[in-house]
Symmetry: D2
Subunit: 362 residues, 4 copies
């Protein structure tokens, strides 16, 4: 469904980097959910570029809730959030057009859209589109908290620097909810920032791995085959530009484990079924088992770099050299974090309402 995701609860994205606005519609939320504009602002703040480790382009991210909210609550009808584009410099884009930035969608958009794509600033492929997603997702994140479901994501690794693992999910998630550079270890965070700054100085960029934990999801959610929790969440995550890998629980490391190591043995914990380990990331057979959902996604280094690269001019069909000028992020891992939380929140609302109905979400 192209730019719409979800069945009972769905999100639709629209907009271009240098068009009038970007935005999102979230549909299917029940009526009566409180909409905290301060929290939406807060989430957008987490997405915003910071210091030297981000693009100097300043985006105010002023949002308007155009529909679906009345007297501070959802009305049950589609919520459209609009974020006008400001501070746009698109004067010089037509001249650049045709010189495909390596790692970007310039060339594939040209082929797909037959030369009619809005190429300014990446158009609909720009990370800017995620601003709408974050605004809409904030409502879902907030709603889930009221149901006792908490989502938190930290930078497991960035520019070669590793963070410490989750120790106390509840506390760590709370801590991460306000951290601009979401590392659990202060030392790791400082090293990451240094490494990113160093890459920026070298007109290069770095990638990383984000690790997400979700606590409070009841057991029994998800479907055996095509709506497995892994399928739905990975579908959502891979829609975020720059994500090139997704794994649940032990993920790829399971390839080197024996069954007796990988299997999460069950035990009784205060009368409830739990598991000793969580190598399956809280999911057995596509269905939640009540343990924390744990998954990771790989974020590639931002493709826009100042360093000179070889590429082609696809208009003329000739090879050229290219230094991407303009205002770029040397790293988007920290900014992608809140995008992950947002889309995961929406995907969970959809999965939960399949079983319990959308009314349950209030």
């Amino acid at each position: 469904m192209k730019n719409t995701f979800g069945n009972n609860v769905s999100v639709t994205l629209f907009g271009e980097s240098h068009g009038a606005a970007v935005g999102a519609i979230i549909d299917g939320l029940p009526a009566g959910v409180s909409v905290d504009e301060g929290f939406i602002e807060h989430q957008l703040l987490l997405r915003r570029p910071i210091g030297k480790i981000s693009t100097p382009r300043k985006e105010a991210d002023k949002f308007n809730i155009v529909s679906g909210v009345f007297n501070g609550k959802t009305t049950g009808t589609p919520i459209c959030v609009l974020i006008p584009n400001e501070n746009i410099k698109s004067g010089d884009y037509s001249e650049k057009y045709g010189k495909a930035r390596p790692g970007h969608a310039d060339y594939t958009a040209f082929v797909k859209y037959n030369g009619c794509e809005d190429y300014r600033g990446g158009g609909h492929f720009s990370g800017r589109i995620t601003a709408g997603l974050v605004a809409a997702g904030a409502i879902a994140v907030d709603l889930l908290k009221n149901k006792g479901i908490y989502i938190g994501t930290h930078i497991e690794k960035c520019a070669g620097v590793c963070d410490k693992p989750f120790t106390d999910y509840k506390k760590d998630i709370e801590y991460l909810s306000t951290a601009q550079v979401p590392a659990l270890s202060e030392e790791a965070r400082e090293k990451m920032v240094c490494a990113i700054e160093k890459a920026a100085e070298e007109r290069d960029s770095v990638g990383g791995v984000l690790e997400t934990a979700v606590i409070g999801v009841p057991a029994g959610v998800g479907e055996p085959w095509f709506d497995s929790v892994e399928s739905v969440i990975s579908h959502a995550l891979f829609s975020i530009p720059a994500i090139k890998g997704v794994e649940f629980g032990a993920g790829f490391s399971c390839a080197d484990m024996l069954g007796s190591q990988m299997n999460d043995q069950f035990l009784m914990n205060n009368g409830a079924v739990a598991t000793k380990t969580n190598n399956n990331g809280g999911i057995n057979g596509g269905i939640t088992n009540g343990m924390p959902l744990v998954f990771r996604c790989a974020v590639k280094p931002t493709p826009s770099i100042g360093k000179e690269q070889s590429t082609v001019d696809f208009i003329n069909g000739e090879e050229v050299r290219l230094s991407v000028s303009g205002r770029h992020d040397p790293c988007i891992v920290h900014r992608a974090r809140v995008v992950v939380d947002s889309i995961v929140a929406i995907a969970l609302c959809d999965l939960l309402s399949q079983k319990f109905g959308t009314d349950w979400l209030v």
Copy 2:
């Protein structure tokens, strides 16, 4: 959509391990596609257990095409393939019921289905369900070959043994299409088989990584956001039981690369745009760029092992010890291969028909 996947071209799975039959419906294929029953048999053969590295349970996998094929060709209406279950021993399942096999869906199915699940042999969660998927997928695999699109998967790693990488995609894919243990290196294959047999002797199991390449997909296929090629393929792959990770191109290793290393620089190759490297796995911005699609999935060690484990009896709410008896696979990596090819073929038919229409697939 639970047990149905795809829009223009879709597949629906049904059946239980110890029920009357398993099966699949593939819908949306245009009329006039040749259906080669020999090829379906061949694909089912690749899924079948072999030698000591698989379960001794013998499944004939005789399939009936119940609908949608006439005079050896698709009619354009739903194709239902039915595979009756034979050689079923389910006498002793009710006694085992309640003792959750670690790593399995026993417990989550119990919670989700409130004790009404068909628990015999894993029921609808059994790998047996993939037989229907492989039969239906064979038609899609075959159809794509006629359009010049070839899919091949090898075991990149299994039980700690690594295969050699793809060197000549076309040739390697052809080779893999008949290999029962799909390793490109004969030496690696032999070592893998030994390692699996060793695990079997120890009543344990091993996992691995499958790497898939698809050649011949034209540039410009896929959508920027929620129908990105990565989203659609990962959704499909994660529906296969035991898959815990999916990555495209460089995947998780991109976290340790600089942008200047990760970016695939464009070049002209006999008048066509190509890239020097393929770290993006043939996909930019969710859309194919004409390079081979390359992705990997992590297959966890089979959870059914003879070794004794701790677990709970969820009926009585008490901890128990469990040795899974019966006929089990010490490894399913080699058997999962053709399941991957099948679901990827169906997903690609769906993606291609979005742009070109289902008529294009003939």
Copy 3:
């Protein structure tokens, strides 16, 4: 989605008139719903041809539940019902091929499927396909009864003979549930049968109007725009071959009414909101208001008639004369009744579970 309908609860149809079998898959029903095979048989009986007013072709309609039912209850996974085709005479079809039966899908199937359609006995366009739908739908009809929701359909008009209207919904629906020719007035029923027999003698056919009432649906179900109750139910009804019109409440007669006549004025009825009239058929703004859902559909005269007609041979592109030989129904209105009830039951399960969740349906 071609042959699949529904989101949370969905049905998929497959099969051809002269293929191995017809069948249906119903997916999304929760686990624990009792499956009464006797009731399925009963519903299939209502679909079966009777006396002189139907085709003399005898269809045993023996069904097999291939999956999704265990110990007499739904397991929560897809239920596949298979009805093998018996008593097939397809020897003489290839000779007839090309001579488009007026009013049938012969020509459109030829164009759409490019000459690869299974043309025997109407193939996938045959009313025979509805047998699978009725079998699957029986489970939904039964389930809804347990939730206090009752569906009943009578022949409002057939061959120019009008039935009396519903007077006591509950009682009338109960009466209709076992009536082979579902007219509320005995006199009307006898006249209808005579009129149908007369048409049969003249090698012609007749149509009619079916009126359905559903009681017990709570207020507040349905969506304002594209999942309005009218949209979903009409989508379902128009998928039944031969249906050419659908109207809710006063339907087309509203065109001749004033607003003051059409509007259903609200009143209090034992503390509950109700309406004096029910011109809106229990639906305001696409959402149920708690009154009985009332709608009608027009069933065209069976296109297969013995009378000679003009037509074309689309293979040779020439005009020919045609008398449709074989075993045909002079009327299918009475047989279509249970098909209507079946698909409406499935559509309602889907609409209800959107709001309340599929768990609610148990």
Copy 4:
């Protein structure tokens, strides 16, 4: 999918009557389709209230294309059209709240949305929402014209006055495309206007029947069961508020016809297959046969009338009397016409692209 309709080509509606704006997103159109803002304006003009036969509320309907259009052409990404609400008088709505207007969604919205609905001016149930649909649909209407597919709707009947039937589809459709009151007979039009004015004077309202013809759709489009052309178009039409009936070809009158009368006999017409009559409305077995698509929908009298009616105050649970004050339409049949054309155009784009691909639409 609530407020989203369509698969390959889809539309999403949002907004409330007295909120900031109404709008629509159309997604799935290929890149390179010319977007004529003048034509969008023209279509919105056809929806606008006129003279004494409409509400005196003046809506400027200034639209902004927020995304998806670049250099006057579609970019292939979602097109969001926004229409800010102006001339809003909502001061007095809270006082009216609770008194359910008969025939309106006030009560059902209250039940569904639990008292959190935006009740001002009908909120999301207002006909105002169709402004967004018309703006988005204009692009689809225009696109289809370039493919030789023309859609036209006239008022077959209004307030008891009947129009003359289509005689020359092409010419009639062209004529209708600019007619503010779309009757084919001038005399009928004048009588309709008088009858509507008379109803207005009596503080009452009238309904009618719209008849639509679509020419140029190739044979072979649509699907046998759940994506039958009738299913898809009726689904779309019934989403428009006030539509209570939909019929194709002879529609409900088929109930009084014999098969020999209803069947459209085939003939050869300049080498092409055609039919003598068009009682099936251009559709056999759910698939287009190349004849004009012809269908009708019943539009109920506007429920908002000045005449006093009985109703309930659902807040207090007591019966009250109500005269709906404010600025109302005594008839919306003529205004609904362009809404019908718009949603039908979108539905056809979706159906066509299923077979031919979205690329075909350029």
